[in-house]
Amino acid sequence: MKFYLEDLLVYFPYTYIYPEQYNYMLALKRSLDSGGPCILEMPSGTGKTVSLLSLISSYQVKHPTAKLIYCSRTVPEIEQATEEARRVIQYRNSELGDQAPKTLVMAMSSRRNLCVHPRVSEERDGKVVDSLCRDLTSTWVRENNNAEKCTYFEKFEEQGKDILLEGVYSLDDLKEYGIKSGLCPYFLSRRILDFANIVIFSYQYMLDPKIASLISGSFPTNSIVVFDEAHNIDNVCINSLSLNFDNKLLDNSLKSINKMKQKIDTMKKEDVDRLTREYTSLVEGLARSGVRRADEISGDPVLPQDVIKEAVPGNIRKAEHFLNLLKRLVEYLRNRLKPNLVLSETPLVFLQSLYHSTQITSRTLRFCSQRLSSLIRTLRLSDLNQFSAVSLIADFATLVGTYTTGFLIIIEPFYQARVGHQIEPIFQFSCLDASIGMKPIFDRYRSVIITSGTLSPIDIYTKILKFRPTVIERLNMTLSRSCICPCILTRGSDQISISTKFDVRTDTAVVRNFGSLLVEVSSVVPDGIICFFTSYSYMEQIVSVWNEMGLLNNILTNKLIFVETADAAESALALQNYKKACDNGRGAVLLSVARGKVSEGIDFDQQYGRCVILYGIPYINTESRVLRARLEYLRDNMQIRENEFLTFDAMRTASQCVGRVIRGKTDYGIMIFADKRYNRLDKRNKLPQWILQFVQPQHLNLSTDMAINLSRNFLREMGQPYTRESQLGKSLWSIEHIEKQATSKPPSSATTTTTTTNGHSLNNNHNDTSPDINMNDK
């Protein structure tokens, strides 16, 4: 269907629309008109992405230069968004016919997900793929005639310059195109990125300065930037400006420094010229200039406005001098990193003591990152994996030299499973202020849209990201039946209260009650059940105790059990089998971790998730020093009380977990919040409105048997047929309902409005588009 939204003709690729989609588009449209950041919360599973893409692609008809930069969290989400875009664009262009603007929609990802080289593409580790690719594509490798080359890259070098694509290219489409045409999809995508009307990629390409400076640095400022599933955006910002290392990494970086020294020595004998050339270009301040795409290494770890655009200082221009400086820095860090030491200090204090013992100034440190990448190129090192340790140190040097406020250095012991289960000290350079990373985005782009299913309470986001949105919208879920059954479970069948509070979480009674809850639920709920634990270590404890009690075997008589493990590939397989079990009727239970990989971006629609159990409140461990520091910072600088932030963070994680089961209005699911603390108003109220609207008094303060009864009745009710007629007008609109809206009256310039017997088609003249477009909705 297509309809007017104020003065904008919107092409929406479905016959019906949810009222919240309409309102969402309206808010979005107003925000695009006025410019500036906006924040929109819309219940998950009500078609957020399609509304967003419909509106913006229709907006692009009117404003052809506005590029849409759509950011999402995970690769599956990127793929889904691209498919949605395909549908939207297809419909829009078929409606526009010859008038359709040439459009390129493309997804973008790392080499790992785009490579088609038979050998390289098999690798699962992104870093390995990167470095194998460099082995085949760097300029110096290709100069050597005997070296193995990548045919896809070679062909791209020959022909890729002239290729301009049109249409919709998902990651798979790019790969397919790559295989068919023999052109490297990764480098092709990098090339056409600047021409695309809609770009879909992950947050890192916008928010991580190391990558963003290479990828998105040249996007026009009138672009529309969308952060979808943005409830965790503050953490992404913080992570992209933080780093951590331990003794092992320091050892490795020392090794690489020595290796580079040897390299320099041999080069001095063979090819002194290259070193002197590097020196002169550094004198001219061209540390990063003139780099070919195939040779580029990650960019500066600091935000664009903080990058020093000066010549590298004299004391590190010479390669050996620079390596000596790095060596001194690493040795200093090693001295600081002592076991059983807990310490936190500001960057300024660190710089001071560094200066005292090594005479290295902060100014010199700021150049380390660029200087190192220049050196790596000069030495023609393609196996970057080997030098990742020393790059990290150089990045740290640049960061610590650049930022003095909003950051903190913390040294604390850390459990290391990989190194013989020892407690090793870890050095963390942590960003405390998420707004530092977001600021350049807000400053640069005309429209920045932050949207998600769970952004409550919105005022915390505006505080921690330090922005003033022009449009704020929180949408409810319009429903003609209650398709969510929240159960606030406070006690087991034995009336012993349950909680994951630190002091009681390992009590046998609590663990047993948690277990029998799952056994009971698995016997009444059909198909899929998802359980979320608060942390990996808690899941470990619980699962082994349940196993001893034989509870897991009881569950197995009802449903199969799948577990998310630490390995993403293994978990993906488990997920695939979990869905298979739901499909064939056996039903399954998935044990998973809140904040884990499954809790983000995997949909459990329809039979894949009829019930989700949240064991406890997923608080972050408050013992964490990094968290403490962040809380203090928030309290002192943003007036957010510690508890307020902790509860906010826990509840947004909780609502993300439970929100995974509702994907559409015919979908239904039970949400069990198994912790007595959820019963308190201050916790509960932090849940998004669209869940809260179903929390009735009878859903509160339940024991296990009460919850089972409630679920039974709920499932019986939901099992009844649900027709479209009962939804129409209330939770579902057709074109007639839209045209009744005050905001959807066709503009006054429209000359005629003839409605046929169907009431669906009308002819219309519009200022922007050519006259007499046939407006049949399908």
Binding site: T15, V519, L556, A569
Partner: protein
Amino acid sequence: MSAVQRFSKEPGETVVLRANTKYSDKVGTLFYTSLRLVWVNQTQHEPTVQFRLPEIKSQFVSTPKSARALIRLFVKDSTVNSEALNEYIFEFIHPSKAREELNLFRDKIATIVEPVTSSTSTTTSPTSTSPNITSSTSSTTSTTTTTTTSSTSSKTTEKPAVPQNPYLSQLKQPTISEQQIKQRVTLLASNPELKEVFDSLVGKKVISETDFWESRKGLLKNDASRSDKQSIGMPSNLLSDVRPTTDSQSNQLKYRLTPTVIHQIFIQYPAVEKAYKANVPTKISEQDFWKKYIMSQHFHRNRGNQATAPSGDDDLFSRYDTDEWREIKILKRKIEDINPLLDISATEGEKEAGYGVIIDQSQNPDKLEKVLPLLRKFNRHSSLVLGATDISQQQEHQATKKTKYDNSDKYKLLEINKKILGEHIENKELENENTPQLPTLKILDQKRYFEGANAGGPSQFTMESKQQLTEMFQKQYSKLQQQGCSFSIVNQKPVTPVLSASNSNSSNVPLNPILQEIQSQSTGSAGTKTQSDEYNLKDGPFKTDFYHTFRTSNELLRHFWATTYTPGRGAPPTPQQIEKNTKLCDAISKHYDILENKKKSLISSNKNNQASLFLSILESLNKSIEKGNSTILSTSSSHKLG
């Protein structure tokens, strides 16, 4: 019976089919007539081979794939008065239509092989054959009938007053196709209760086979519409996780390892299988091997209770054990064939180690390491049950690298991925046409599924009993399947319209409608009580016997009331109906006597509660007997009047 010109026909005999065939390497023509099967040599004009149709006991045809179209018939030797069977093989030799002709013959013969004749007299055949279910293996393309014993029930057998044209009678009598027979056979095989009733009533000639099936039209229809049957997979339970039973008296731990359990252990723990293969029976005996296994740490480590594990020497297993299950990352390469919606591993490459903050150490996945083997055990078991790829297969697959993906495979994968994504993002609720494609329910044992759930949740069944039930059912099922039961099925006169109308729809779930019927017929019956008692009765010979009695009674009553004529309602009964009704009445009173005796013996052994269960059945039987007697009286009186 001497043959003239082609061959001489008996009075009323007509040729139904003919075909060129070879018999003992001579060419000739095979005739199928209304009475006989005749083979005439090309050069001669009198039958070389001939036998009457009822003498054919079984037929086999060559498989459709075979080059020659052969039919093999087993025929009762009419000359010798014994059960000896003669074998005849005919080859259809038509250059193009041999197979077609064979099929025509096969179908025709099939209708007689399933004995045409029976008690109620519509056929001219003098002997009546009774259906007899015997289990004999049959090849897939052939139908077998076996020994038919000419049967009794002489009082009901009547010679028809008017000799009928046999061909006509065949038309009148709906012949059942081979497919129908197969369907009935499999239905009986898969439904032990139905078979029980079938055996005791049809087998004993109380109810004719046609009537039996006629009243189950709905069941047959439903069954046929189910395209493929539910296939029963592995039980979900973890059988390999053997738990001991304790013997309090002798202070012993007992482990029960059945072959199924052992098989599962091998699948779950490849190391154990390797150890077994290497050591048994050359180095240690099987008994010792399992003893060692149970005492080993290997056995205990995944059970989480490390503390209780004995610290014996573990060399036997640890030697074969690769410790990779404790490693965090198992897969070295990318998984290619994974649902793109679920590939969370695709995202992990985007974040580099060393960057970012570590806020919460308990969120560190490395912490799982200790229980990883346990967690993996569940993932593995579950995918095993599903028959899906699990991580170890992926691993092997990657290790051997046998199958490299070439470009065409890659295209295929990309196509599939696109399809999955496209379907996923499409919001069907907003589409104009939304007919949700629901998976069809394929449940073989509907009763257990539907009634089991009503009976009150999980507490009713303990874990063991559930498992036992499943095992029992599977055993029974597979046994019946192996035997490939086949029956000869009697075809019978058209059934009264009353019967088919009242029962054709209700026969799907046999128990409930029957109960309703009884309730409606006999006031104050305790039917519902019996139903709820089903789950409270203890398993044992009494229960099986009682249920059997109950079902048999119901079947009898069903047929009885269907044939009963109430004056003023429906069409007046035909003589056949009346006769059947009388016969049923007879059977019911016999059955009543048996039950009465059973009840008395129960009371005498002081089992009053059990005896009382019979009351309601007896009551309803009694009602029907009363009705039957009155009907006989009234009909006889009306006859007198007539």
